[in-house]
């Protein structure tokens, strides 16, 4: 077993390559989620010592390193959204998680091992674990029989051995609580529980078994909205803080009396208070809301407060590490910010930012191969697919964003990159009584490695810009670069670079309008350049017009009534004579540009039409009967190469082909189109998906695992040195690296044996010398070659095990973590081959002794 593990760690790539060859026959296309899962399902939790941050993310619990922001551990096992994450009160290295799938799971999170599963049988909406009640946790479950009413129950967790447990021992604590985990909080040492719903606050004292209810009027005289939004309890005093929809925070005291309770009000937020948290000692209160400002209230003096403004988007949850050194805020746009206790911004952990509305579509940055789309309001995010991380965020709008509901603020609507990624064109608009439009052209500055604003054109069109594209020609000569924008004002405009002749001018290049074209005053909806850049196709409602890009003459028009053109694209490479168009009446048409005639058409409700930049293939996604289907075809054949019906239940909004770094080896003819680039989709709910054959997916998870293991090593000067060394090794050929590695492993046991035997038992040095020298001589070519087939065999065994899906994947993962835990003693553990080797050596040694 250990041998297999090590092979996984070292030669992971070789093993996978082998596996993929085996998997050719049953290969099937799968839809894989690859990003965009919400990271704000529950309050994030710091591990003891604030080294790791644990947060719920979709069906998983993710563990991030606070120091490096890297994902260290992914706890998978739940089959539905994770709703609660809590450290186990009795063992701080363990973690409870609850999920909508009705289970509570206990994890050893440092090693990523699932210890126990307690099946409750109800949807669990929130989880609370208290130090005072060791054997039970509190959960919020829907009340059976009634819709939209929830109750807080305590669940007894049996301590019996075994992996899967039934936890049916429920006792109701509070009725009629809110489903949100923020609306219930436990007080000082678990003496009472406070829960808010609408305008009611109820406090239940466990010891006295007393329930106090307090209610506010729905609206007060000044028109404030008194609805409760969240609650937090002081860790040391009898004090409850509640947040309200009008931005007020109330501090309740003396609430063990029904009548003589008091409250004081803190007011800074102008909109809903979304979460509250007391600091460790209760000396300050943190609050966050829609304004995306973290406010720290000092409880001693009422008015004093500190702010950390401009955190990017609304704060959903606030949490504090157990030693009080870090705060952490989870934001609605899928981001976690770690903040020092002195309110200094420290780090952010972010995946794909969830924009309010993705208008730009999925664009691929030719330079970094990153996906580019709307990010923070007014920003463009560059999202790296390999590492599920945001590379950077480019501020396009460059205006102060006001976090306030109902404000109409500029947003990014169109993005286009030139072929080499040297130029970036963006369109932002703001619509109120009249439209504000800005076209910005950005130049990539090699020195600063970022885009620099070159030209700003206000009101490039009189109406909304519908599409934009660069001419994709060789960018060596800048003068051929051209940008086309189409607008609803019935024209398309051609923009070219103008060179300032004065060499002293600050910037020599700027963009200006070169040509304005229109067709029968129809709205221009799409534009597209042919591969060589000689032709421009612009669709005007029902008609596609083709223009010569050098003289700007109208060459020909295509029309396929009825139905407006939804998208158009030219064929590539061998199919460059074809023009494809999709209409909103459910037709996909292919026109031949040489004969100017319709080549073929198909009845298909295409919502997304996406050509692969590296091959002739075109992907079309249709939406029919509430399900998306994928069709891949070449324009020269009317018959699709690959059909994947009903592959996704959600409506696909955008798609993009991302070129692969290394062409994939795909055996099946049917999936050859996936060889050079990968297809990504963005759905309505902003989940990023990709289609892949199974093998590819496994490779991804493997490599990420390897990273994680290395990442969790403690950072010492020595480990840095080691890391450098290891890095250099991995630079070389994988196989070569393996052999080198074996040398190390082989000589170490013999030497170790020498060193570990107590000195008084050792024979004289003259005996030991040949042993030692022999151990150095052992590594011969034939032996290492002997070994490799051995190893491959084992891997293939494992590959077969793996072929059935996720169960084994999780198991494998657990196994994988074992070497991490016992990393110090890996050298003790010997692989089979090594043991064999050792035995051989022993034999040789004894013969030597007998000779003497």
């Amino acid at each position: 077993m250990p041998c297999v593990q090590r092979a996984e760690l070292r030669g992971g790539r070789a093993a996978v390559r082998f596996r993929s060859r085996k998997m050719v026959a049953p290969a099937a296309l799968r839809v894989v989620r690859c990003g965009g899962r919400a990271m704000h399902g529950a309050r994030a939790v710091f591990s003891v010592g604030a080294r790791f941050l644990l947060c719920a993310s979709g069906d998983f619990v993710k563990m991030y390193s606070v120091a490096t922001e890297e994902l260290v551990q992914l706890l998978r096992g739940h089959s539905d959204l994770v709703t609660g994450v809590q450290l186990a009160p009795h063992n701080r290295l363990q973690l409870y998680s609850s999920s909508l799938d009705g289970t509570i799971k206990l994890w050893d999170f440092t090693d990523g091992i699932l210890i126990k599963t307690f099946t409750v049988g109800y949807q669990l909406l929130a989880l609370y674990a208290l130090p005072s009640s060791e054997d039970s946790v509190f959960v919020i479950i829907p009340k059976s029989g009634e819709r939209d009413t929830f109750q807080l129950v305590s669940v007894k967790l049996t301590k019996a051995a075994g992996q899967d447990m039934e936890a049916k021992e429920l006792s109701v604590v509070l009725e009629g609580v809110d489903a949100s985990p923020k609306c219930t909080a436990f007080g000082r040492e678990g003496e009472y529980v406070a829960s808010v719903k609408d305008v009611n606050l109820q406090v239940y004292f466990f010891k006295q078994k007393q329930l106090n209810r307090f209610s506010l009027r729905a609206t007060n005289k000044k028109g404030g909205n008194n609805v409760f939004t969240c609650v937090a309890c002081h860790p040391q005093e009898d004090c409850i803080a509640t947040g309200h929809a009008d931005g007020k925070i109330r501090l309740w005291r003396n609430f063990n009396h029904k009548k003589e309770y008091t409250f004081s009000t803190l007011h800074w937020h102008h909109d809903k208070v979304l979460d509250l948290a007391f600091s460790l000692e209760g000396t300050s209160l943190l609050s966050g809301g829609v304004e995306s400002v973290l406010v720290q209230w000092h409880c001693g003096s009422d008015c004093k407060r500190d702010f950390l403004p401009r955190l990017g988007s609304a704060i959903e949850y606030v949490s504090i590490s157990s030693d009080g050194t870090f705060y952490c805020t989870s934001h609605t746009d899928n981001r976690i910010t770690i903040i020092n206790s002195n309110l200094r911004f420290s780090k952010t952990i972010q995946g794909l930012i969830k924009a309010r509305d993705v208008k730009t579509g999925l664009v691929v940055d030719p330079r970094t191969k990153a996906l580019v789309l709307n990010g923070e309001p007014g920003h463009l995010q560059f999202y790296c697919l390999q590492s599920d991380k945001q590379l950077y965020s480019l501020d396009i709008v460059q205006q102060e964003y006001i976090h306030q509901a109902g404000l109409n603020q500029s947003d990014l609507v169109r993005v286009a990159f030139s072929a080499q990624g040297k130029w970036l064109a963006t369109v932002e608009e703001r619509e109120e009584t009249d439209l504000e439009l800005q076209l910005k052209l950005w130049f990539f500055d090699e020195e600063t490695q970022s885009f620099k604003l070159n030209t700003r054109i206000s009101m490039p069109h009189e109406d909304h810009i519908t599409a934009m594209c660069f001419r994709d020609t060789d960018e060596m000569e800048d003068d051929s670069l051209m940008l086309v924008t189409t607008g609803r004002d019935c024209v398309f405009k051609v923009w070219v670079i103008l060179e300032d002749t004065d060499p002293e001018a600050q910037q020599s290049l700027s963009w200006s309008c070169d040509f304005v074209g229109s067709y029968h005053s129809y709205q221009a909806t799409n534009c597209c350049f042919s591969e060589d850049g000689s032709l421009l196709a612009v669709s005007f409602e029902e008609t596609v017009t083709v223009w010569d890009s050098s003289t700007w003459d109208l060459k020909c028009t295509f029309c396929h009534p009825p139905g407006k053109i939804r998208s158009i694209c030219f064929g590539r490479l061998t199919c460059s004579k074809y023009l494809i168009g999709a209409t909103d009446h459910g037709f996909l048409c292919c026109w031949n540009l040489l004969s100017c005639a319709l080549e073929w058409s198909a009845h298909l409700n295409v919502v997304v039409l996406q050509p692969d930049p590296l091959s002739e293939h075109i992907a079309a996604v249709s939406w029919l009967f509430k399900e998306s289907s994928l069709f891949v075809f070449k324009p020269n054949e009317a018959r699709p190469i690959c059909i994947q019906r009903k592959f996704c239940k959600e409506r696909i909004q955008f798609a993009a082909f991302v070129p692969r770094d290394v062409p994939e080896t795909i055996g099946s003819e049917k999936y050859l189109w996936l060889r050079r680039s990968q297809l990504f989709f963005l759905t309505d709910t902003q989940e990023l998906m990709t289609v892949s054959t199974k093998s590819a997916q496994e490779r991804l998870t493997l490599s990420s695992k390897q990273l994680a293991v290395e990442e969790s090593l403690p950072v010492t000067p020595f480990s840095l040195l080691l890391g450098k060394h290891r890095h250099q090794q991995s630079q070389g050929d994988v196989d070569l690296g393996k052999i080198v590695h074996h040398h190390h492993e082989q000589d170490s046991p013999a030497v170790k044996e020498l060193l570990h035997t107590p000195a008084h038992v050792l024979p004289s040095a003259s005996f030991l010398c040949p042993i030692f020298i022999n151990s150095l001589l052992v590594s011969k070519e034939n032996k290492s070659t002997e070994e490799t087939p051995d190893e491959v065999e084992m891997e293939s065994e494992e590959a077969e095990d793996d072929s059935d899906e996720e169960n084994s994947v999780t198991e494998m993962k657990q196994e994988d973590k074992m070497p991490l835990e016992s990393l110090g003693e890996t050298t003790h553990r010997l692989s089979k081959s090594e043991e064999k080797e050792l035995r051989k050596i022993r034999k040789v040694d004894y013969s030597w002794i007998s000779v003497f």
């Binding site: 460059q398 102060e400 603020q409 500029s410 009584t433 206000s458 009189e462 002293e504 600050q506 304005v516």
Partner: protein, 470 residues
Amino acid sequence: MASYKPVVIPAVPKLGEKITQDTLYWRGYKTPVQIKEFGAINKIDFSPVPPYNYAVTASSRVHIYGRYSQEPIKTFSRFKDAAYCATYRDDGKLLVAGSEEGSIRLFDISGRAPLRQFDGHTKAVHVVGFLSDKYRIFSGGDDYSSSLWDIPSATEIVSYSEHSDYVRCGCASKLNGDVFITGSYDHTVKVFDARTKSSVMTIEHGHPVESVLLFPSGGLLVSAGGRYVKVWDVLKGGQLLVSLKNHHKTVTCLCLNSSGQRLLSGSLDRHVKIYSTTSYKVVHSFNYATSILSLALSEDFFVSKPGRCIMRKYDKLLKSFQSSKALDAVLEPHIRLYTPEVTVAVMQELNRRGTLRSALAGRDEKQISLLLTFVTRRVIEPRFTPVLITVADMITDIYQPVVGQSALVDKQFLRLQEAIGREIDYQEELLEVLGMMDALFATLTEKRATYLEENKSNGLTKTLDQDISI
């Protein structure tokens, strides 16, 4: 993490004279300090080391002036007749000057009496200078000869008699300690190498040469004479690169700035012209009261300032969400009058934040009148029109109930209406003209670009129409 983003002030291309970086830079030079001397000044030379004192040669004296005082710090007056061409050495410690009687004197800056005297020229020496090896001096005299002198021994090393007229200008190469150049009234510039017995290159300028100059790279040579400034490529054997004729009288002096990117020429026509050395175009010019005889430029002083982001007052107020005060801040006279785009940009930002109405509301008679004056004056400028129409709408909305209470405000309202009415008439006329032009174009070849213009003006009139209907 993001910090506050200041309001973006949209830049609009301005018609008229283009303000370049150069204009701003050279404008930084204040009006000249006038120092009266008794005779014509024939040479000014800045010391190459701080504190950049300058030596002025006039009649029989050489005065050294400091940066601040207009009184000479030091005077060298051991000349019997006129002194010429007092020049600093590279290290700023020695000064050499020629004289009418034909002797060359070398001074120590700290001393008074000449350290050395070089005799040999039979007539006045109008040009002297140090070679870049620091130990030799070249000179050119009215006896048509140019000589090379050794400083330590005060002897003549070599004398060239190749010019056929007065030698009146010269300079030494900064790269090569042996090369120097002299220009003469015989219309030629000659390049000498101290290691050879005769000149190595002769360049025909075509006019009596008044001034010569070598670029720091040593590859280009500039000569001035007559009305011309000519640039020669020395490395290509003296090929003419460019000939500049920007003065209408004789160019008397030349000078380069410290970076070598600007060339200055002074002339009898009272102008100093500044050329870019990449395009050889005039980027700036100075105008003086009398003819320019000599010209020198000191090294650029750079005072490094720590980069500090200064936030404008309105930005500070906007940052703290004080919209009414921010509007007040941009209605200050200096912003309102000189940079109306700032005022309009802040109004737009307030509108974007949805607080423009509350910022406009609650103002007294004086402030309303001020706002209305601003709107009336600027609403017809196309770049401000969309924003100011919104502002005007809001003002009319908010202050409708109080119309008639103040004569001042009523008058302003009437003026606004008048201004907009005039603008509409104007636009209509423009449209008529456009229609006529369209008719003309239609008879000629079809041109699509006109569609765009038509649309634009249409849109503008439409919005104005709406406004007046309110």
